[in-house]
Structures are given as structure tokens and as C-alpha cells.
Symmetry: C2
Subunit: 346 residues, 2 copies
DNA sequence: TGGAAATACGAAAACGATTAAGCGACATGC
DNA sequence: GCATGTCGCTTAATCGTTTTCGTATTTCCA
């Protein structure tokens, strides 16, 4: 690898001058600068990142924390799309992305925070993990700029998909379609689940819906079998719902199957709705009505805010950025309004 | 950050000694080593990766090349699962993963190879990209250990999903189910496509199947609309196929919809099969018969071979590792054997 | 007991960059 | 005419490690 020393030798100047020329510093002659840059170009020079890091304490490298263990991480459409958008956003600004090592559990391995400091990450995006683990707490309390996705820590920047508004929009949409008996199979306990669930209750109350307790069930996220089982139980009620909400689109497929196996049709006999807006939901028949989260925007926000935190720490607000989703209108929710029936007839 | 110098001061030894103690070198006393290690632990020491890299030319960092532009990259189930497995594999061995920056197209930005050298990657896994681009060629010809997924370069290690065997197994399975009129909508031209297509023809010949030209169609990977359109054309043939193979599971959904919209049922009226074995294929009804690629094994192979290439360059063979997939038997392919009809009746 | 070998440690150079301080030459101001 | 300022460059220190080589001390054996 050609270094500044090599260039300085060729140009007959000191390495300091080369450094200044390449970094566009002020105290250098136009002529010299031009010549040095040209020679550097010809010799195929590129900087040694390690040396630069050592001296400047800047890595132009961002850590991304993705935990697999209990979470689906990378293989979850939602996170994959957010990461994809995040990657493009920061790469365009000259940053690279490195995963925070979460699998090295050998003796003497470093904690997340230590690992991040050791690698010299300029900032860390915590995307998908157990936010209550001690290691994560240590990390967010450290001195590295941090941003979280879909979780709030005190005094830490966060990007959140608006689950409250999302659930409200989705339920309101369903209400407007004429549904009055709406069941909600929610996911396992988490901040996200709580937002959605309380929004569900509040919106139902505002709309004047009464939700019997047996309409509220739990099934872990992305567990099609669980969703299947809960769907069966809902269908067996004396007064079954006319519409079922699922924790996510994936779970909705479980419900989908339970319903079809009993010879019922969607949406004619019963309506369903998912959450997330994963691709395949738009490509099956009937297309799934769901709350589509804006993963492109979420990833972009995470990246831009984190870089702002890194580059302008003083003037960057510690705040929570909220990204809106929107109802994706598939055809899994039937319109059962009397009004609309009439209009159909007319 | 506490450095070796700090530790040396506390212990009253030189930094050289500290370095040796922490790196388990030979020429150091047992007593001193123990003491230094203990102090290091107490002071919360961890190494400065940049300094270490600078000195040793080892980064314990692996570059992963994922291009989004025309390829679905991260958001493609297949690649996401491979990456997930790769990540776990290398992290357990103490390596981190950094994406090769493919989005920085600003003036003066580095080529892939320069970027990799600049970051000091110990090795690079080329997972998903346009393998024919000049930048990629420059990269594989460089001096960094390289491994590719699903593409062969001369003198470069590769991990391949066995597309030849896979297609053979899939078609044979379908044949055994009694199908004699099998259509294949293949993906856009690539090494993978060619393997599958030639395997399809060869297997068909071996089985004594005659495949009319109009049964072979093209639709880009993961293009549901394209698959939809081609399916319609196949269904409109004077003698339509009894089974249609798709480029991938996602495309199969396009066919799925085309078929259902025409009031035909799967598999009673027509059979379909996908390729890849993405999750959702197992969770819709009818479950999709497909060739499931072993993403877990693929990612593991990529990681292990690359690390072997890095750590034992002399004794590591430059070879192509082939990973077998297997037919996932859903219920989208009907058994139309006379024999089995009989056995049904019996 | 003397000398060779083994052992434990330190001094210093190096990796490739950045940057503060300094220095000569020349122009400017009063 | 002398202090002052500006420009363009060099010198040298520094970031935190690793590693070579040298040296002092101990051990071992003839």
C-alpha cells in the first residue's frame, strides 16, 4: 500500500505537506496542493483507516446492534428493510456499518460497550435486542452517541414508528367498514405491544365499541401456530368477531390458514388485518389489509439523526422522532356497512 | 480509555511487558503475567483496535459485499438468512462484519477494492452483486482473501447452492407425482439460472419428458407481476401444463394469484412449485412445494472457508463448496398418478 | 566455581497518519 | 528602519500497539 511517505518522497515535500494537501488544509500553496493530489491519484493512494482512526479518534464507522437470540433480527422483514435504508443513508455520507458483535461469548470477550469503544465506532444504532439487558443499559449509559429504534431510554435519541396512531388508524378504518365486533390478538409484552394495545382500547372507547375480554388474546410475534390456535378459539366463541387483528402480518397468515381450513372465506365470512406491511402481504390473495410501517423513512431517520449526533453533538436535540405508518388497504377486510350495501345494490 | 501505558505505570513494568502479558507471549514470568492481567481487568482495559490493526495488519473484520441497486440484497429472504448465519459463524470466532460501502458515489470515493484495503478487512465475502462489474473484477483480482456465494470466478473460493441437483430433485419429485406436462418460468440470465435451466432440460430428457418450447418462459426473479403474466400465457395454451415451476417462491405467489383469479384451484386444477424455501411459503395455504436451500449451511460455509483462507492461506484449498438443498413437500403439487388414484380408491 | 543457557524484562523503533509549533522569506504599516 | 503579519513549508511529537534486540539475573552442569 502506498503511504503518504511514498508520495512525499516522489514530490520532494514532507509528509505533513502531503497530509495537508490531501485534507484541503489552508496553509499550503495551490501549486503544491495540485501536484501532490495528482501524484497521489497516479500512485493509487488511499488512506490507511487504522492510522487515521488512531490519530483522530474518528472511524466513520457506525455500529449496529442486532441481536438474534430471541429476536428474528436480520431475517425479519421489518428490520431488514430498516437496516437496508439505514445502510444506504449512512453510506452516502461516507460512513460504514459494522455489526456489534453479539455472538462472541468466549471467555474474556468484551461487553457491547467495550466492543464498541474498542472498534472506535463513532455512534451506535440499537435496532433489535433485549432492551432490558444489563449490557444494553451499560451501552446506552456510555459516552458513545446512541440511537434506538422503537424503544425509549431516558436522555437517548430514539426513532419510533407511531404505534399509537397506527393502531388508531387501523381500527378506525375497520370501524368505518362497519365492523363492531373486533378482536385483537396482540404480541408478547414489550413497549411496542403496550402502545398498540392501549391505543386499541382507547380508540375502541372513542368509537363506542365494547370489546369483550375474550376478544383480547396474546400470541408471540411471528408465531403462526400461536396465531392459528388463538384464531380457532375466537372462531369458536358463541359470538365470534367479524374482524380479527393480528400482532403482525406473519401471524395473520396463521389466522388465514385457520380460517380457510374451516371452510370460511376471507373477507366474506370474516375479516382479518395484520401489522407491518411486509411485502408478501401485498402479493397473496386476498391481499392483506395491514398497517404498513414506513421502514424506508425509519432507517433514514435513524441514520441522519445519529450522524447529526456525531457531527454536531452540541446543537443536536436529544429527542424522539416519530415516523407515521399508513393503512394499506388490501381486501381482507369486508365492507359490511348497510349504507354501502345499498350503494352496491343501486 | 485506559491504555497499556496506564497499566504499565500501575504495575511498574514497561508497556512491552504488558503487551506480552496480555497476549500470552512466552518470555514473561508467570507471576508478572498474572498480576498484569488482574490489573488490566480491574482497570477495565480493552485493546484499541485501530492501534492493533496499524501494527499487525490484522483487523479481525470481514467485509461483506451486498449491492442493493438491482438486487434485493438484505431484504431478500435468501440473502438475509445466509447473512444471518454468516454473522453468527464469524462472530463466534472473534471476527466482526462490516458492509463494503456500495452507496458512496461521491467524487473521489474509493473503489470496492480500495475501500476494503483502506479498512483493512482480513477477507471479503461477495454475497450479492453484479458479478460482472469491473469493480468486482478488480476486487477479486486484488490481494485480499475472497469468497463468493453462488458465483464462480477462476481461482477464487466459492460456496454454491447445488442448483443442478436441486432442480433435478424438484423435477424428479414432480415427475413421480405423475406430471408429464411441466412448464418452467425461469429467472433472468445468470450463472444460477443457467445451472437450473440446463439441469431442468437434462433431467427432463432423462425422464423422457418432452418440453415444448412454449413451456419455457422467462420472468425476472421476485417479479410477481411478470410471473403473473407468464402464468396467464401458459394457462391460455391449447395444451396447458399440469405443473408450473417458478424462478423463486416469491414469483410463485404471482402465479398463485393468476391461477386463483381464474377460478382454478391449487393443486386440484393445476400444480405449482417455487424455489428457495422462504418462510412464508410454509405458512400459506396451500403450502408451497419448493426447493429449500440450506441458508444456514451456506452462511456457515462462507464464514468458515473465508476464515480458513485468512488464517491458513497456505494450506487452504481454493475450491468450490457445494451445499445441497432439499425438496420441501408442501401441498401445491397434486399426485396425479393412476397408481396412486387406485390406492386412494382402495 | 566458571561459563553457557535459559529466563524475565526493558528500550526503542515502527505502523501511517495528524497537527502544533516554528522558521525563513517577503510584504506591509507607521 | 523596525516591528509585525502572512504564506508555505518542515520538524517533531503523538495516537496505542507490537516486536526485535539487548541485557541483567538466575539456573544448570561440568
Amino acid at each position: 500500500m502506498v503511504s503518504m511517505k511514498d508520495i512525499s518522497a516522489v514530490c520532494g515535500v514532507s509528509v505533513a505537506t502531503v497530509s495537508k494537501a490531501l485534507n484541503d488544509q489552508s496553509d499550503i500553496g495551490q501549486e503544491t496542493k495540485k501536484r501532490i493530489r495528482q501524484v497521489a491519484e497516479e500512485m493509487g493512494y488511499f488512506p490507511n483507516t487504522a492510522a487515521k482512526m488512531l490519530k483522530t479518534n474518528r472511524s466513520y464507522n457506525i455500529g449496529v446492534l442486532f441481536n438474534h437470540e430471541d429476536y428474528s433480527g436480520l431475517t425479519h422483514d421489518y428490520y431488514a428493510f430498516v437496516l437496508d435504508s439505514l445502510k444506504r443513508t449512512v453510506e452516502e455520507k461516507g460512513y460504514d456499518i459494522t455489526f456489534v458483535n453479539t455472538s462472541d461469548r468466549r471467555a474474556g470477550a468484551m461487553s457491547y460497550l467495550e466492543h464498541c469503544k474498542s472498534r472506535g465506532f463513532d455512534g451506535v444504532a440499537i435496532v433489535c435486542t433485549d432492551f432490558y439487558s444489563p449490557e444494553i443499559l451499560q451501552l446506552v449509559r456510555g459516552t458513545i452517541p446512541i440511537i434506538t429504534l422503537d424503544h425509549l431510554f431516558n436522555n437517548v435519541c430514539a426513532v419510533m414508528s407511531n404505534n399509537v396512531q397506527g393502531m388508531q388508524d387501523l381500527l378506525t378504518y375497520i370501524y368505518k367498514k362497519g365492523h363492531r365486533r373486533v378482536a385483537y390478538i396482540h404480541g408478547a409484552d414489550s413497549a411496542v405491544t403496550q402502545s398498540r394495545l392501549s391505543s386499541f382500547y382507547r380508540t375502541a372507547a372513542q368509537l363506542g365499541l365494547t370489546i369483550p375480554d375474550e376478544y383480547i388474546r396474546m400470541s408471540p410475534y411471528r408465531d403462526t401456530n400461536g396465531a392459528y390456535a388463538e384464531t380457532v378459539r375466537l372462531l369458536e366463541l358463541r359470538e365470534p368477531p367479524t374482524c380479527i387483528l393480528y400482532p403482525d402480518d406473519f401471524s395473520a397468515f396463521g389466522g388465514f390458514n385457520a380460517i380457510q381450513e374451516r371452510g370460511m372465506r376471507i373477507p366474506d365470512d370474516i375479516s382479518i388485518a395484520g401489522y407491518d406491511g411486509i411485502r408478501v402481504a401485498r402479493h397473496i390473495e386476498p391481499t392483506l389489509t395491514t398497517l404498513r410501517q414506513d421502514t424506508e423513512e425509519l432507517g433514514k431517520m435513524v441514520g441522519e439523526k445519529l450522524i447529526s449526533l456525531i457531527e454536531h453533538p452540541k446543537i443536536t436535540l436529544v429527542e424522539t422522532l416519530v415516523v407515521e405508518g399508513h393503512v394499506f388497504e388490501g381486501n381482507s377486510v369486508a365492507d359490511i356497512n348497510v349504507k354501502s350495501m345499498k350503494s352496491h345494490i343501486r
